[in-house]
């Protein structure tokens, strides 16, 4: 039937004909189904609401504390997507993946919807009135120092209101806890620069030397720094910026470095002093302090080749200004403060202070400035709980049962408090231990103000406004909860405020003149503030303390790892998971880790050489054991890690917190040893020593690498070129 001239092309033509014939008859058949769907029109819409056209409202992202401003796209009364607010000098219209997932926090099916009272192992729904009565009752016969309030970092009016509530209880025990916090750096910065968080201008630097500061990923204000990084790469005076990252485990920022230097864990301070020595420009006590740190000694201690040290010093000498950053990798040791001090010293010696390390503005309303969280706070609280000091424990925006080291026995100690209240979005590990769980509004449906710790360009207060009506009728905003409880205790002072919105509005309007609104009426000023989304202050800028001193600088000599626990555990901080509070947002679980491309699971990063030594192959389930405990996870051969270290990412390993978090991965927080920085008492996250053993089990690693495993097979796919071979002068 078919002659030899019939080929594939004809076959497809024929198929097309056949298909066309069917399509011909499509004129009468339609997919229009009248009467199937209901269209619910509005009853009384505002006149700017046009169906099918989105209205954008400004608010503030609450996925981390960087304080990026967002524009929520709202259509037909529901928020669909978040964009950055172009008017914010923090993020200038950009966002990170974490911020995008804010809608999944809001619409999450596992949010708590009703106040729950524990009866045995169950949570019974109770009314808010009963909940408030219960709290009043339980705080009645108790003195203020038997009450403890644990929260994450707080700022803005919520901080003020919380302070007032605790005052009303005569309670001075407010523990501000963040599991991942630059606590050591803050203290070191205060000593070296005079302020806990100065302004770092990456875009003004020609060279950035970062000791483990993952500023593109999760450090301090990643979206803001990413923007500066883009400018930095375009270059100051047309000279492309150079990034050197020194750390024992490659972070996202390290992946983008011109030179990534694998350093022996803990020896960052030694390298910093070695570079100061190599620069040869230091004088006085600094020169004396670094005299012993010649390049050969430093090279031996840190594992960094001497030639590399020379190159770094040469580059820093040649190009000024530069910027040196101390990140979590440097901080996480018993001598973390010393490391940070040595690294900060490098900024002084290089003359960066005042150029790329700058003072921030004074905050005209210091009561709004953030109460920043750190890990030492949890240690204090834990000690108090262990001693049965606290009868009543409140928990807000913290999940210590998940993030505390197993060595702290936090769960057992928490049980010693008679009455525990959790203000929570989800039944996470800590809420499950509480006696009373009060459900919170999500940040996208609540009012508030927020002041970021890192002031990117000026002092500012970010406004948070609801992007839609409450999803669940019985959740409340934290501000409203505090206000209700304050009304109970101090009715005269607070009954004048109808709700937290009323409180905020009157608080802002009461300083209207100071905020530049003297010429307009209250309503106009308030609306203007809301639609701007940010209150900025042109404050006075102070000079940084040029306290360049090596006094008190004492770095320990490198201790050989060995014995039963030969490897160093580096808990990895990823941009999406962080301390685990976003593990129930499925976009983030499915978003591959940029370095390993692994999804929905934890892993143990081992250097291929070390893995070969231990006969570990990819996918082998290995047991990682510290003195405190052990976890089991799949091994992943990763060249971006020092052979004496292994890394397990933080944030997964939840046993609660909803369907997208529970049961995925393992939790390295649990096995961290209780070792602390000597000066600040911060948990030394990188001091845990472990041993690793195969369990005999093996899995296929679920990752996005593709069949080629990250290789280009000789094709020109993702091309890298040396700076010598490229002409950047014609770039747009």
């Amino acid at each position: 039937m078919m002659d030899s001239g019939f080929d594939r092309r004809d076959f497809l033509k024929v198929l097309g004909w056949g298909g066309a014939a069917v399509a011909l008859s499509g004129c009468g058949n339609t997919s229009v189904e009248d009467g199937k769907e209901t269209v619910v029109s509005y009853s009384e819409p505002a006149d700017y609401v046009i169906p099918s056209i989105g209205v954008y409202y400004n608010s503030t992202c609450a996925q981390c504390d960087a304080g990026c401003s967002i524009n929520g796209r709202v259509r037909e009364g529901r928020v669909l997507k978040l964009e950055g607010n172009p008017n914010s000098t923090v993020n200038r219209g950009k966002m990170c993946g974490l911020g995008q997932a804010g809608v999944q926090h809001h619409y999450n099916p596992d949010r708590v919807r009703e106040p729950l009272l524990r009866t045995g192992n169950q949570g019974q729904t109770i009314s808010w009135e009963d909940a408030y009565k219960l709290i009043a009752e339980k705080t009645q016969g108790v003195s203020g120092d038997q009450i403890a309030f644990l929260s994450g970092g707080v700022s803005g009016h919520l901080k003020v209101l919380l302070g007032n509530y605790l005052d009303s209880l005569s309670c001075k025990n407010h523990f501000v806890y963040e599991a991942i916090a630059p606590g050591v750096a803050r203290a070191a910065n205060k000593k070296s620069y005079g302020v806990a968080m100065p302004r770092f201008s990456i875009n003004k630097a020609k060279v950035v030397l970062s000791f483990g500061a993952d500023f593109l990923g999760s450090w301090v204000s990643p979206v803001h720094f990413s923007q500066q990084y883009a400018q930095f790469r375009k270059g100051v005076d047309g000279q492309r910026g150079v990034l050197v990252q020194v750390e024992p485990k490659m972070t996202l920022t390290g992946a983008n470095a011109d030179r990534w230097v694998a350093i022996r864990p803990g020896t960052e301070g030694v390298l910093a002093l070695g570079i100061i020595n190599a620069l040869g420009t230091a004088t006085g006590d600094i020169a004396a302090a670094v005299k012993a740190y010649d390049r050969d000694r430093v090279s031996e201690e840190t594992g960094v080749p001497a030639g590399q040290i020379d190159k770094i010093a040469a580059m820093l000498k040649l190009h000024s200004p530069s910027l040196v950053l101390a990140g979590s990798a440097a901080e996480g040791y018993e001598h973390g403060s010393q490391n940070a001090a040595a690294i900060n010293l490098l900024n002084h010696v290089l003359g960066n202070v005042g150029k790329t390390v700058e003072m921030t503005e004074d905050m005209p309303f210091p009561q709004m400035s953030p109460e920043t969280g750190n890990t030492a706070a949890l240690t204090s609280l834990n000690n108090g709980l262990a001693a049965s000091k606290y009868k009543v424990l409140f928990n807000f925006a913290a999940n210590p049962v998940f993030t505390a080291s197993g060595a702290m026995n936090f769960k057992e100690n928490m049980a010693k408090a008679d009455f525990k209240v959790a203000f929570a979005h989800y039944l996470d590990e800590t809420a499950l231990q509480a006696d009373l769980v009060l459900p919170l509004d999500s940040p996208l449906e609540d009012w508030g103000t927020q002041v970021p710790e890192y002031l990117a360009t000026c002092a500012q207060i970010n406004i948070q406004q609801p992007l839609m009506e409450k999803l669940h009728a019985n959740t409340r905003g934290m501000g409203d909860i505090l206000l209700s409880m304050l009304k109970q205790r101090q009715p005269d002072d607070y009954n004048g405020y109808e709700d937290y919105y009323g409180y905020l509005r009157s608080a802002v309007l009461s300083v209207k003149d100071a905020l530049g609104g003297a010429s307009v009426d209250d309503e106009t000023f308030w609306n203007r503030t809301l639609s701007g989304g940010i209150i900025k202050f042109e404050g006075s800028v102070n000079k940084l303390s040029a306290n360049a001193s090596a006094a008190g600088l004492k770095l320990p000599s490198h201790s050989e790892a060995g014995g039963d626990y030969p490897l160093r555990l580096i808990p990895g901080v990823t941009a999406s998971m962080r301390d685990g509070r976003h593990a129930n947002q499925p976009w983030l679980q499915e978003s591959p880790d940029p370095l390993t491309t692994i999804v929905w699971d934890s892993w143990v990063e081992i250097h291929p050489k070390k893995a070969a030594e231990l006969s570990i192959a990819e996918g082998d389930i290995v047991e990682v054991t510290s003195k405190t405990g052990s976890i089991k996870a799949q091994a992943y051969l990763f060249p971006g890690i020092h052979p004496e270290a292994i890394s397990v990412p933080l944030g997964r390993g939840h046993e609660a917190m909803g369907r997208y978090a529970k049961g995925y991965g393992v939790n390295p927080f649990q096995i961290l040893d209780a070792v602390f920085d000597k000066e600040t008492g911060e948990l030394a996250m990188h001091e845990t020593r472990v041993k690793i053993s195969k369990t005999g089990q093996r899995v296929i690693v679920v990752k996005d690498e593709g069949a080629a495993g990250g290789q280009q097979m000789g094709k020109k796919i993702a091309v890298r070129v040396s700076s010598d071979d490229v002409d950047l002068s014609e770039e747009v």
């Binding site: 497809l12 033509k13 097309g16 004909w17 298909g19 066309a20 011909l24 529901r78 928020v79 669909l80 997507k81 964009e83 950055g84 950009k94 911020g99 995008q100 999944q104 099916p109 593109l216 990643p222 979206v223 990413s226 923007q227 883009a230 790469r233 492309r240 990252q245 920022t253 992946a255 983008n256 470095a257 011109d258 030179r259 694998a262 190159k311 040469a314 499925p586 976009w587 499915e590 978003s591 491309t597 929905w600 060249p639 997208y660 296929i700 990250g710 290789q711 280009q712 020109k716 796919i717 993702a718 091309v719 890298r720 070129v721 040396s722 700076s723 071979d725 490229v726 002409d727 950047l728």
Partner: protein
């Protein structure tokens, strides 16, 4: 639906692009991605999920290669056998390259994927019958198939999460191929506004979701035909021409000192996305 145009020349419909007698006018959407700025953060990938109703498939399906990320960040290691990747890694944002001579367009048995007049490779969900020939033919492997009916699969869009879905983008059912659309819904919206004012869309008026969110501004997108557009200026400065499979600048001995290139250009799909090579400082 007239019979005449059916009989007219079905083969002409599968005309490979680019062609001189059909120049792009007034729009040719194109992109330029600066790999030196791309930090690999994956914000673009998550933003794409948010904008385009992309389902989250979960761990098991991901293992089977059934992930749906229209925009993915690929990570490449150096292959020189050194102990450490001491010049970092290479990140590559990869999405549908909207090829001018798309290998996927010619093999669809039902013409569910075509070329639009503004230079996009279209994917029509209700026409697609799920033969998957297009994704087999795609050299970039940027086409994703709905192996399951995600709208009715547990935990993909549980109640309340359905409220997040973008009404301007179809929610795909089972058996349908999907891929990056250069946010055609946003382009459409921008064109409606522009047409209402009697003009074409100007530079800066429309952004794709990935471009809008990228914290390092690594992605630039716009109308290649518009001399004011950044993407036009970039392609011009890098001397990359849309309708050449081998660029003139690459004829030189030792290649070019310009950073712009297109991936798998030698296969002649004429992609609309230009990448700028990542630079690493040699002095360090």
């Amino acid at each position: 639906m007239s019979v005449t145009n059916l009989l007219d020349d079905w083969a002409k419909f599968r005309h490979p692009h680019p062609v001189d007698d059909k120049p792009h006018d007034p729009y040719k959407w194109a992109m330029a991605i600066d790999l030196d700025a791309c930090s690999g953060c994956n914000a673009c990938s998550v933003a794409c999920y948010a904008e385009n109703n992309i389902p989250v498939v979960g761990k098991d399906k991901f293992l089977h290669g059934q992930s749906m990320h229209w925009m993915r960040i690929e990570r490449y290691w150096d292959e020189d056998g050194r102990d450490f990747p001491d010049q970092g890694v290479q990140f590559l944002p990869m999405m549908c390259q909207q090829c001018e001579a798309a290998p996927c367009e010619t093999v669809c048995p039902v013409a569910a994927t075509n070329h639009t007049s503004d230079g996009l490779n279209s994917q029509i969900y209700n026409r697609c019958i799920g033969s998957r020939y297009c994704s087999a033919n795609c050299p970039f492997k940027v086409r994703y198939f709905n192996w399951y009916d995600y709208p009715t699969t547990d935990d993909v869009w549980p109640a309340e999460m359905t409220q997040q879905l973008n009404p301007d983008v179809s929610v795909r059912g089972k058996g349908v191929m999907e891929k990056c659309t250069f946010c055609v819904q946003r382009l459409h919206e921008a064109k409606v506004v522009a047409k209402g004012e009697g003009r074409i869309v100007r530079e800066g008026e429309v952004q794709t979701a990935c471009q809008q969110v990228c914290p390092t501004n690594a992605i630039s997108f716009g109308n290649l035909m518009d001399p004011d557009a950044k993407v036009h200026q970039q392609w011009q400065a890098q001397q990359v021409e849309l309708d050449k499979d081998k660029q003139a600048k690459d004829e030189n001995e030792g290649g070019s000192e310009l950073r712009g290139y297109r991936i798998l250009e030698e296969l002649r799909p004429y992609p609309s996305v230009m990448y700028l090579e990542r630079v690493r400082e040699s002095a360090i």
